[in-house]
């Protein structure tokens, strides 16, 4: 059993992750380039660190495993031979176990350890199989000096720390607010300067007064007063000038600090692309071997900074694209030779920042997309008529690849072919606020180009005014913003096109105000379609730090997020896709249910079960809360517990049945008390059904609910 605490365990796992990451990278590199013998040193360094860390937490089998791994490298170094494929596979398997351990939660460690121990012991034997040592002989540490307490990190600057996403978001909000508050100082300084000018006028007036008065005709007291007053005025004028200068200095410094804080916190959300795709080299290697192909993965722009959230969400789509390329794109070695290509196929992931956006390209030098075959598939699936399909441009045809279930694969393999992967790529990229494009050269390869915002936190926005309030659009979806008179009926003449024109007020079901030409119009782009939206005013462009809408605000179909303007006032950001949905979705008339239970856990469970069935559910914590709810809303069904603080469920039902407006609403009792006497009493007070508290998902509960709602 483990002899360490959770803190120690977490430190150990963090060390494992760091070392295994470096180990895998170098191992795959040396496999590709056996001549890079110097990599053996860094491999040994990594295993040496792992061994030391395992010693600290007293996991002797891991000490032996790390030592066996180290032995392999040492043997290769001494004999100046390349690591065999068999050894590399064993080393990778060892690394897999270490990575799995580092991802295992502390609570489950003992179970996990007992299960994995046989595999660890087997790997030790296999790795040691050709080793010349019979006992653990300490290898001299690699060239760089090692610390025995290997749980320390490389440098303080590079060390990572864990911070909850909520805390980071709070930091960002506060730093944004601090920046907004710092902008208050500038106008204050202006007001102070204005007061200083006013004061200068007072001084001038005083001089004039002094000149008018004949000083020699004043008595001594008056003369002294005049002199004092003059001195005081000079002093205050001087001090006022100094205060303004101090304020100015402080303002500059404070504004600069706030800006730095803000920018650094934004940056803390970013991490290099390499950290998000480190598992891909290994995946490509393993999968290509499985399919008897020779494929090399290259990565360009590893240091390109990407928002953490975006990088995390991109892992699955990039994985799909690579697997697709390996399975369907890149040919078998002999086929490649026949096509006069290199035997080894190349997959390339490249990333860069371009015009304020992140561009990630996944390309291969495989067979490319057969557009004619694609069109035939579209016809075969009856997605378009023959003529229409044949008239599609290559780009239009390739768009069909992103549809759910669409695949041109002749067979489904365990790798791909179901037509699921590209659909996921498309929807994830769109969810992140970006888009994906395909470029293909039949016989030569395919490029998938993903364009995304640099960060989800900061969005380049066009600000408009509607009904006296500010709203924003992400620039990604703006084609143009213009003031125009080119309006004919309900359309806008835009270039050679006539595009639909919508008044923004109608989105809120409000009658728009009378408008005179020219109109302020924002031309929005949704896939390939353009729409014009009339707004009251186009304010300008701004970079905004966005926040998601609070979960208490029911999910809004047209608003994606919110942000703060420079003066701290709120602004809502439109979800353009939903805004332009052409078909009106008819909302199913949802049945409204009120659940009353003083147990929060049971209340939430009931809420979940009923919401999943599509009911509109309200919760009440006791009879009084239920009464307030009944006073303000209409319900199709009331479900109540019996045992509650204050008045119990039986009493509540009696009172409901006495109210003319409530007496016809069916009431169902859900209680842990289930004696015949209780059921009889429920019947007496007017309950329509009685359910004894159990697993709500057994079907009986929902059957009762459905029966009562059907009447």
């Amino acid at each position: 059993m483990s002899s360490f605490d959770s803190v120690m365990y977490e430190l150990f796992c963090s060390e494992l992750k760091t070392q295994c990451r470096a180990f895998n990278q170098d191992l795959l590199e040396i496999e590709q380039h056996p001549e890079k013998q110097h990599l053996l040193v860094s491999l040994m360094r990594a295993t040496h660190s792992i061994k030391g860390a395992a010693r600290v937490v007293n996991l002797d089998p891991l000490v032996c495993l790390a030592h066996a791994m180290e032995d392999c490298m040492s043997h290769a170094q001494r004999s100046q031979t390349a690591l065999t494929e068999e050894k590399i596979n064993l080393l990778l398997q060892s690394s897999d176990i270490l990575i799995a351990l580092s991802q295992n939660p502390f609570e489950g460690f003992d179970n996990w350890w007992n299960k994995q121990l046989p595999s660890i012991e087997l790997l030790i034997k296999q790795l040691s199989g050709e080793s010349v040592t019979e006992e653990i002989v300490e290898h001299p540490p690699p060239i760089v000096e090692m610390q025995e307490s290997s749980v320390s990190a490389s440098s303080d600057y590079d060390r990572g720390v864990r911070i909850a996403a909520g805390n980071l978001n709070q930091l960002m909000n506060l730093s944004g607010e601090s920046l907004i508050e710092s902008h208050w100082l500038d106008p204050f300084k202006e007001r102070l300067l204005s007061d200083k000018k006013q004061f200068a006028k007072i001084e001038t007036l005083f001089e004039q007064l002094k000149n008018q008065l004949r000083v020699e005709s004043c008595n001594l007291v008056a003369q002294n007063c005049l002199v004092d007053l003059h001195m005081q005025l000079n002093e205050v004028a001087l001090r006022l000038g100094q205060r303004v200068a101090e304020m100015d200095e402080f303002n500059r410094h404070h504004a600069s600090l706030s800006e730095h804080l803000y920018q650094n916190i934004i940056k803390s959300r970013m991490q290099p692309l390499a950290e998000g795709i480190e598992g891909f080299s290994r995946m490509v290697r393993d999968l290509s071997r499985k399919l008897n192909k020779e494929i090399r993965l290259e990565i360009e722009g590893q240091a390109t900074l990407v928002d953490r959230e975006i990088l995390e969400k991109l892992e699955a789509p990039l994985n799909h694209l690579l697997r697709n390329a390996i399975d369907h794109g890149i040919e078998l070695p002999q086929d490649r030779i026949n096509a006069k290509k290199n035997k080894e196929g190349v997959l390339l992931i490249s990333a860069r920042h371009d015009k304020g956006m992140l561009e990630i390209t996944v390309s291969d030098d495989g067979r490319g997309i057969d557009i004619e075959r694609l069109k035939n598939k579209i016809i075969e699936k009856k997605m378009l008529g023959e003529q229409q399909a044949l008239a599609l441009t290559p780009e239009e045809a390739m768009d069909y690849l992103f549809l759910p279930g669409f695949s041109t694969a002749s067979e489904i393999t365990e790798v791909s072919g179901r037509g699921v992967g590209l659909d996921i790529v498309h929807s994830v990229v769109r969810e992140l606020g970006g888009y994906v494009k395909i470029e293909s050269n039949f016989g030569k390869g395919v490029r998938f180009i993903l364009r995304l915002p640099l960060t989800r936190s900061v969005v380049q926005t066009l600000i408009v005014e509607i009904a006296g309030e500010n709203y924003g659009f992400s620039l990604m979806h703006i084609e143009h913003a213009l003031i125009t008179s080119q309006v004919v009926d309900q359309t806008l003449l835009y270039g050679k096109e006539q595009i639909p024109l919508i008044d923004s007020w109608t989105l809120w079901k409000e009658h728009p105000p009378f408008r005179e030409l020219p109109f302020c119009v924002v031309v929005l782009k949704n896939q390939e379609n353009l729409y014009g939206l009339i707004v009251d005013k186009i304010v300008g462009e701004k970079e905004l730090l966005v926040q998601p809408l609070d979960r208490r605000l029911k999910s809004h179909s047209r608003i994606s997020s919110a942000a703060l303007m420079e003066d701290g006032s709120p602004i809502l950001i439109f979800d353009v896709k939903d805004l332009l949905k052409e078909s009106e979705t008819n909302l199913r008339e949802k049945k409204k249910v009120l659940i009353i239970d003083d147990s929060k856990a049971f209340r939430e469970r009931e809420y979940q079960v009923l919401s999943e069935q599509g009911y509109d559910v309200d919760k009440a914590i006791d009879a009084r809360d239920a009464w307030n709810a009944l006073a303000t809303s209409f319900y199709d069904l009331i479900i109540t517990d019996i045992e509650m603080p204050g008045i119990n469920g039986f009493e509540l039902i009696r009172k409901i049945k006495k109210q003319p407006t409530l007496q016809n609403i069916p009431v169902m009792i859900v209680s842990s008390a289930g004696t015949e006497r209780d059921k009889l009493k429920g019947n007496e007070v007017g309950a329509a059904d009685y359910y004894v508290k159990d697993d709500l998902r057994d079907g009986t509960y929902l059957e009762c609910v459905l029966k009562l709602l059907r009447g």
Binding site: W508, L549, R558, L572, I621, W627, A629, Q659
Partner: protein, 146 residues
């Protein structure tokens, strides 16, 4: 119960005085701009306000308590439960007070008439009647989207 006190925060909405237990009071602040949320706002939920850099829902508390009130607003108050904040404009914040339980006149919940009630009881503060609100009922109603 002798000697037991409750800490409350007293505020004004129009001419009426209300109180909430002090532990649900998060912040008192100056009036801030409210941005409406189209298709979602009702008489109670007015929109969003900026509180320390985060956008929080803003409500008109008087619409829950007494829709006939038309108070003037000079400050804003934020109340908090389970890390969720609700902001509402008030006429004036009067401060925290420790009130002995014996000073309370509890109001029994009225089930004979179907109407909302969020008042737990009354007490006198400098000869002025203050209505102590039941925050559990308030929060529950707000979370329902009252």
């Amino acid at each position: 119960m002798f000697g037991e006190v409750i800490s409350v925060f007293v505020f004004q909405l129009g001419e009426r005085h209300f109180a909430l237990t002090s532990d649900v009071i998060h912040k008192i602040t100056s009036l801030k701009p409210i941005h409406s949320i189209p298709d979602q706002c009702n008489l109670i939920l007015q929109g969003l306000v900026n509180l320390d850099g985060k956008l929080e829902p803003c409500i008109y508390l008087q619409e829950l308590l007494d829709p006939t009130m038309q108070p003037s607003f000079h400050q804003m108050m934020a109340m908090i439960q389970d890390s969720e904040i609700w902001v509402f404009p008030i006429t004036k914040a009067l401060g925290s007070y420790r009130i002995p339980f014996s000073a309370f006149q509890e109001i029994p919940f009225e089930f004979s008439i179907l109407r909302v009630n969020y008042i737990r009881g009354h007490f006198l503060l400098d000869q002025t009647e203050v209505s102590l609100l039941d925050e559990s009922l308030l929060f529950s109603a707000l979370n329902r989207g009252a």
